[in-house]
Structures are given as C-alpha cells and as structure tokens.
C-alpha cells in the first residue's frame, strides 16, 4: 500500500488510541487529515520541491505507532547530549517521552511535554491561542498535525529568562524495521523573555527513519529566542524539518542549522515578522559527502516597517552529495525601511557533487535595502599556496581553509559549549586538527 493511503487509513485507529478528550483538537486533527488526503506528499513538479525528490524516502514501509521503550540508559545517549553543562532535557525515544532520561521544569517556566499540554486544563489557553496557528497548510504540516501526539512544549512566561539551555533530543532505536516519527513542538516566549534551545535528531541504528517534524515558535515583544539545530544523523535517517516563527515587535530570533549528516534533510524555515524593529537571523553550515542531500528552504516575510533579516548559509559538498538552497525574502509594501540580507556561499569538492541555489527577492516596497549574493567557487589558490609554503600539507591546508569558510556562521553561536562541540564536529568532518579553541 502507498504510504499516503496507509497513513490515511490508520488515522482512525490513531485517534482512538491517542486522541484524548479535547474536542477542539479532534476537529483540528480531522481537518488536517482531510487536508493531507487532498494535498498528499509534495511532488517534484512543485516549484518548492524542484530540486528535492522524496521518492527515495517514501518507499519504505514505515510503522508510525510509537512503542514505549525504557531500555535506553543515559550512557547510551550521552554522546548526543551536551552533557557537561547544566541543561533542561527533553528526550524522546521512538517518539515516546522518556522520563528517566529527561529533566523538565514547571518552576517559573514550563518545559514539558506536548502530550500533557494538549490535554491538561492549565495549558488550554496557550494551546488554543498558539497550536497550529502559523504552520502553512502543506501536505507535510497537515500530516504532522493529524498525528500530533508528542513533542516539546516550552512556555517562557513574561519577564522570565530560561536559566539554562533546553535540549530537545529525538532518538530512534531501530526496533521497528522502518520508523516514521512526527514530533510536534510548540514554543511560546512571552514579553521580555529569553530562551536558548538545542534540537537534535539521532538514529541509533542503520534502520531507515523518516522524521517529519513541525515546530511553531512565537516570540512576543522584546523576546529573544536562540535556536540551534544539529543534524548529524546516520545515512539511513531522513529529516523533514518544518519550523515556523512568528515574531512581535522588537523581538530577536535566530536559528542556526548545522547539517552535517543524514540521508536526506529538508529544512523548511519560515519567519513571519508581525511587528516593527524585529531582527531575524538564519544561519547554516552544510557539510556533506557520499549521496547525502541537504535542502534549505527559507522564507522571511517582512510585513511591517523597520525590520531586519540576515541570512547566511555556507555549504561544502563532497562525493556525490547534493545541496539545495532556496531562500526567499518577501517585503510587503507596508514594510518600508526593511533591511534584508541574504548570502549563500558554496564550495564543491568533486565533479559529482551538485549545488542548486535559488535566492529569491520579492519586493513591493520602495524604501528598502535588500540584497542577496550567491557564490559557487573554489578555495583561493593563493591562500592555499601561502599555507603550503609554510609547511602545511595540502590536505590540511584545504581543511583549514574550509574550516575558516564555515567558521563565520559559528561565531554567532551563543552557547560556548555548543560552539566547541560543533567546532569539533566540523573539524572532524574536514579532517583537520584545530590547535586552537574559539
């Protein structure tokens, strides 16, 4: 049976088992499954999916009823966590919350589970106001909404600052022959609040995993949100990450995406600016090899005046890998004095690697400063020569230069320990020893 049909026909069983009592939620889910049935999975002829085909990941016979697994111990997952600083942790194993691996809180801020937020009364107002409000009606979002069950629920109340970073870790154990995971996160950051979040998806075996994740983030006035995505999964795991951010006046949101692994990774990242003096930052490093495929599809929607956005994506492609960058900036006619910047730089290391880049600007306001740049090129021969003339072997010199190329995205990472980790990951991938720390 086609995956789509299988999903649609399992919906009722899913609703019965996990649906809960909430009528509003029932309606949202029912509507979503109808939308999914109508729209289906994205096809290559759609402009947004021109360069990425999901055929190879949709062919597996995925199971999508999560089963509880308590056998994992902390030491099994330690490597995937940032363990030497104090953090709140939300760990999900095969889509099920693992309480003994996690650390949550309700003290001043809420760092807890989507499943409990969806059915418990104290959270009802927040869920009603924010859940499924900004995710556009695409087939993938609708599918996630229909099967919403678990994920992170983070609510930072007014004038609060999350005292430590929050880690959201999605693990898959490979107990099923193929697993479809659909985490759903809701993050609400109230006025003058601040939060740092690290998200990671990790498969522990070589069994195929497809993750279709949806995250909705709401940043109220003057809120600050720092979001980091680490994508360094095994080559049998694919990820479709859908993240939607709505910002109010004077808020500051940044999303850093580090795509260093996985079979197929698609990042749909949308920013909606619903106020003035907003700053949005989107940065990414892509460093892949083999037959890996990473697709960044970004949108920054400038709706109100006096806002800024910065996009900076760097890519290094080895082997037969394929990179896609499809970034769009839309400036509405009310959004005067917008300052939007977009840059995409790529290096191809082999003739079999491919990069498809489509930086778009759609501008309806006249008093704006918008620019984009896109380059595809090689490492500077002169710089390479300089390094080699000082006794650094060619390979190492190349590694160092690529490291430097990717590094300016790292500079804006605000958690020092995370910076160190990613730094190390990138250095390992490039095969360079970095004898200095940042």
């Amino acid at each position: 049976m086609e995956l789509k049909d299988k999903l649609v026909s399992s919906f009722l069983a899913f609703e019965e088992e996990f649906g809960g009592e909430n009528d509003d939620l029932h309606n949202i889910r029912n509507q979503a499954i109808q939308d999914f049935e109508r729209i289906g999975f994205p096809a290559k002829k759609e402009e947004a999916w021109k360069y990425t085909s999901l055929n190879s990941v949709l062919k597996h016979d995925y199971s999508f009823f999560p089963k509880k697994d308590d056998s994992l111990e902390y030491r099994d997952i330690k490597d995937y966590l940032i363990d030497n600083i104090d953090t709140y942790d939300l760990v999900f194993v095969d889509g099920v919350y693992s309480s003994h691996l996690s650390q949550t809180t309700h003290d001043k801020i809420d760092v807890c589970l989507m499943s409990s937020a969806l059915c418990k009364a104290p959270y009802k107002a927040v869920v009603d106001n924010y859940f499924n409000k900004i995710a556009p009606k695409t087939g993938l979002n609708a599918l996630n909404t229909a099967f919403t069950r678990e994920g992170a629920y983070i609510h930072i109340q007014k004038n609060k600052m999350a005292d430590k970073p929050i880690q959201i870790i999605n693990l898959s154990t490979g107990k099923e022959s193929a697993m479809l995971l659909q985490p759903r996160n809701l993050i609400v950051v109230d006025e003058n609040s601040h939060v740092q979040i690290i998200e990671r998806h990790q498969s522990l075996t070589d069994r195929p995993v497809l993750t279709n994740s949806v995250t909705e983030i709401f940043a109220a006035k003057r809120a600050i949100v720092d979001y980091y995505k680490i994508q360094n999964d095994s080559t049998s795991a694919s990820l479709i990450d859908n993240t939607f951010i709505e910002q109010q006046s004077e808020s500051f949101c940044s999303v850093h995406t580090f795509s260093l692994g996985g079979k197929l990774t698609r990042n749909n990242l949308n920013f909606y600016q619903k106020g003035e003096h907003i700053d949005s930052t989107l940065k990414g490093v892509t460093l892949i090899e083999g037959k890996q495929h990473v697709d960044h599809n970004t949108l920054v929607h400038h709706i109100e005046p006096n806002c800024e956005s910065h996009q900076d994506y760097k890519g290094i492609f080895d082997g037969n890998s394929t990179g896609v960058f499809n970034g769009s900036v839309v400036v509405e006619k009310e959004a005067q004095k917008t300052n939007a910047y977009q840059s995409n730089n790529n290096v191809l290391l082999t003739d079999k690697a491919t990069i498809n880049s489509k930086p778009q600007l759609e501008i309806f306001a006249d008093d704006v400063k918008c620019s984009h740049g896109c380059t595809i090129g090689q490492l500077d021969e002169d710089a390479l020569f300089y390094l080699r003339s000082r006794g650094i072997p060619k390979r190492e010199a190349q590694g160092l230069m690529m490291y430097a190329f990717a590094n300016n995205v790292l500079e804006s990472v605000k958690i020092p320990e995370l910076k160190k980790r990613i730094n190390k990951l990138i250095a390992e991938k490039l095969g360079v020893e970095v004898g200095f720390s940042l």
Partner: protein, 481 residues
C-alpha cells in the same frame, strides 16, 4: 504660477502614447482562427516548398497538445488563439525599386517613427529591412551586403532562395516543441528576417529591422534566424513600436542565433510595444523565445532595452556548447503603470572554459511588476566555467514590485559562479541635489535612471543608445511622486 508635480502628473496621465497611430493600408488579412487548414494556407500564400509546410504542420500538431505556461510571475487575460488572424500583409505589391514608388502613407508612418527611408538610404551604416505587418516591404543596402556574400533578407525569401541553409538551421536552437509559444510561432510565422554571414566576413554595417504591428487584431509571429559562419562577425539590431490598440495584441516571436567557431553575434533590441493605457487596458503581450548557440570560441551578446508591452515574457539565452565560448546578457527592463515583465536569461554552460556575464537592471514604477528570472547551469563537463550575474532593481513608489528569481545549478567543482542582486530606490538626497541646481524632478529622475542603466546602455550600438535613452525618459514620465 509655479508648475507643480501635480500638474506634471495630470499632464502625463493624459498624454497619449507618442507612437500611437494607425496606418490605413488595405491589408490582405486571413479570417480569425487557427487549424491545420490555416497553417496550410499560410504556407501556400507564401509559396513555400512542401518540406516547410510539413514542418509547420508538425509544429502545429505539437502545439495542440501543449498547455499555456503559467509559471511566470505575470497575470493577464489569456489570449483566445481562435480569435486571432494569423496572416496579414500590406496589399500593394510588387516591391518598389525606388523610394518614390512607395505608398506615401507608409512613408509618412516611417517618418513619424523616426526612420525616414530616403535619409537612411543615404546615411551609410544602417540597412533597414522594414517589416510592416509581417511582410517585408523594402530592403535597402542589400547590394552592398551581397558583394560580401552576406545574405540579409526576409525569411520567406530565404526559404525560396536558400532552402538548404534554412532547412539546416531552422529549429536547431529552438526546437518546434520547445515551448507553447515557440510551437505556435513555428506553425504560423508569417515573416521575419534571415541573415547569413559567410566564413571570415565581418559585416560592415549594423543590420537592423523594424517590426511593427499595424493591422488591428493581427498577432505578429516573426521568425528570425541569424547564422554566423566560422570567424565572422555581425551586429544585429531589432526595434519595435506599435500603435495604440485597445484589445490585446499577441506577439510571439522566435529568434535563433547560430555562432559557429570563432564567430561573434551581437544582438540588440529596443522594445517599445504599446504598454496599455494608464488603467492597464490594452497593450501588447510579448511572449518571445530567443536563444543562441555558441560553437567553439564563439561569442553571443544579447542587449535589450524593454520599455513596452503590457506583459513581457522573454528570456534571451545562450547555449555555450563549444569550448571557450562566451555568452553575455545586458538588459534594462522598465515597467510603468500596469505593465508586467518577467524577463531574464539562461546561460547553459556545456563546454570547457565557457564564460558568461549577466547584467540586468530592472526599473519599476506605477503599479507595475518587474521580475528577473534567470538560470545559470554549469554541466558536469564544463570545466573552469565562469559566470558573473548582477541584477539591480530600482523601485519608484510603493505600488510596484521588483522580484528576483535566479536559478543556479552547478555540477562541476571548478566552476566559479557569482550572483548579486540589490534593490533600492532613488535617494531623496540625489533628487534634492539636482533640484538645487535647477534640474526639475522629472529630469533628475531621467538623469539618475540613465546613470543606473549606463552599464547596459553602453553596450548598445550608438544609433540605438541615443534612442534608448530617450525611450527610458518617455517610459518613466509620470512616475514621479
């Protein structure tokens, strides 16, 4: 009383299209509609050989199965293809040997267009192949060209006299089933220009053609074929103006350029089809397929100034097939009132050491929408390919839009591709500076726009550059404030 901006605005709003007039020449026009019989009839009318008729019919059959493209960033009422007359020709034949024999009314038309034939005959350097409603009426300077072995004639003449050349090259760069409008054009093209430069010849003058849509309700489907043999050079100019018409007129041309080893073709266009009135009513639909093929070390350079037409849909492209070949694209697209333009280029790098440059300047004013859409494709075997693209947009007022849709596809590690785009407006300080020195706002804008477009204007042949500058001014009149 002081002359204010409002006065100016009022004056301009009521200003009619300068080149809007209609020549009353009895035309030999076909009934509206399109089917195989019409295609056959066009072919017969032109006394074409059988292979050409079959070629057209095949194109028609392909067209029937195709759908009108919708991906472009333009919105318009689709033309009804059964409501167009596919053939119209000025009636008074045969051709004239001297200028005095030409219908005086026609001469008057040319005068108002600024091409006075008798003057131009003497003005050495430009040969004009005038296409008035599809059939070429008069060709000058043919003799001089013939001495060099250059063939410059209408395509129907070429089909009669040089069938081997036409047969070999027509459809070789833009295949009949390439796209909807190319297929339509292949089936019904009524005339166009043909140009052949023999091996090693440098064409001594700029070849130019004026196209004009004249008869109401006639779509114009020209077909241009330029062949530059090994180590030859030609500069080709194309320019258009069209009279005011309320119903939309369709213009679906196909231009094919073939530059063989070491040849160079420079193709310049100034396009000024009727853009519709200030409410966005009427105007010409310009759906054009232009493409050039470069063999080894050949060079094709497209320069275009787009100021007219209600809807423009045009992507002059270069296929850089031969090693060391060069493709260039310089464009200025100006949209005002309710005009929509979706234009850009495609640079397909197939050969080694191929280079391409794209400079695109978009200027939007009024309620218009101006999009740049371009593709740079570096194939796996195109070692050391190099591309530089720059797309700048200038916005005037906040009712218009400027959009950039670049597609960059690279499959070779030695490629070097750069793309840059900026969007901005004319600075108030710049205008203030001009005002302060006694230059009124209107003139100041023209001055600034000219500066903004200079990189492209400089690429035009001299005769055109002057005209293009004037056109820019006319097109942007009334966009102040």
């Amino acid at each position: 009383m002081a002359y204010t901006e409002d006065d100016l605005k009022k004056e301009l709003e009521t200003k009619e299209y300068e080149y809007g007039f209609y020549t009353d020449i009895e035309s030999d026009t076909f009934p509206v509609g399109l089917n195989e019989d019409i295609v056959r009839a066009i072919s017969k009318k032109k006394e074409e050989p059988e292979w050409m008729t079959d070629w057209r019919l095949e194109a028609y059959r392909a067209w029937e199965k195709m759908e009108e493209p919708e991906w472009a960033n333009v919105h318009y009422e689709k033309p009804n293809f059964q409501n167009i007359s596919y053939y119209s020709a000025p009636n008074k034949k045969p051709k004239y040997n001297s200028i005095d024999e030409v219908d005086p009314e026609l001469l008057d038309t040319f005068k108002r267009l600024g091409i006075s034939l008798d003057e131009q005959k003497k003005l050495a350097g430009v040969a004009v192949d005038v296409v008035m409603d599809s059939v070429s009426v008069t060709t000058t300077f043919k003799k001089t060209l013939a001495e060099k072995g250059i063939i410059f004639c209408s395509i129907s003449e070429a089909i009669q006299e040089h069938p081997e050349l036409v047969k070999k090259y027509i459809g070789s760069v833009v295949p009949r089933s390439d796209n909807y409008y190319a297929a339509l054009n292949s089936a019904v093209f009524s005339d166009g220009s043909f140009c052949y430069i023999p091996k090693g010849v440098r064409c001594p003058m700029e070849l130019s053609t004026y196209f004009r849509i004249n008869q109401a309700g006639t779509g114009q489907f020209e077909r241009t074929l330029v062949i530059a043999e090994d180590s030859s050079y030609v500069s080709y100019l194309e320019g258009c103006t069209a009279p005011t018409r309320d119903e939309n007129q369709l213009h679906a041309a196909v231009v094919e350029l073939i530059a063989l080893d070491n040849a160079e073709i420079k193709y310049s266009t100034v396009q000024n089809w009727y853009p519709g009135n200030k409410e966005g009513k009427g105007g010409v639909y310009n759906f054009v397929t232009k493409r050039g093929l470069c063999e080894k070390s050949a060079k094709i350079s497209w320069t275009q100034v787009e100021t007219g037409s209600a809807v423009t849909w045009k992507y002059p492209s270069c296929i850089l097939k031969g090693d060391n070949s060069i493709g260039e694209f310089y464009s200025i697209a100006v949209t005002n009132n309710f005009q929509q333009a979706d234009t850009g280029t495609k640079m397909i790098h197939l050969g080694k050491n191929t280079r391409s440059t794209i400079i695109s300047k978009g200027i939007s004013a009024g309620n218009s929408q101006n999009s740049y859409r371009g593709l740079v494709q570096i194939n796996g075997r195109a070692e050391n390919a190099r591309n530089f693209s720059q797309c700048d947009s200038l916005l005037m007022g906040n009712k218009c839009g400027a959009h950039t849709f670049p597609y960059i596809e690279v499959k070779n590690k030695s490629a070097q591709v750069e793309h840059e785009a900026t969007t901005s407006k004319i600075g108030e300080d710049q205008i203030f500076y001009c005002n302060q020195r006694g230059i009124d706002t209107e003139k100041a804008i023209a001055l600034i726009v000219n500066g903004f477009s200079k990189e492209v204007l400089n690429k035009l042949p001299m005769e055109f550059a002057v005209e293009a500058q004037k056109l820019l001014e006319i097109s942007l009149e009334g966009s102040v404030g």
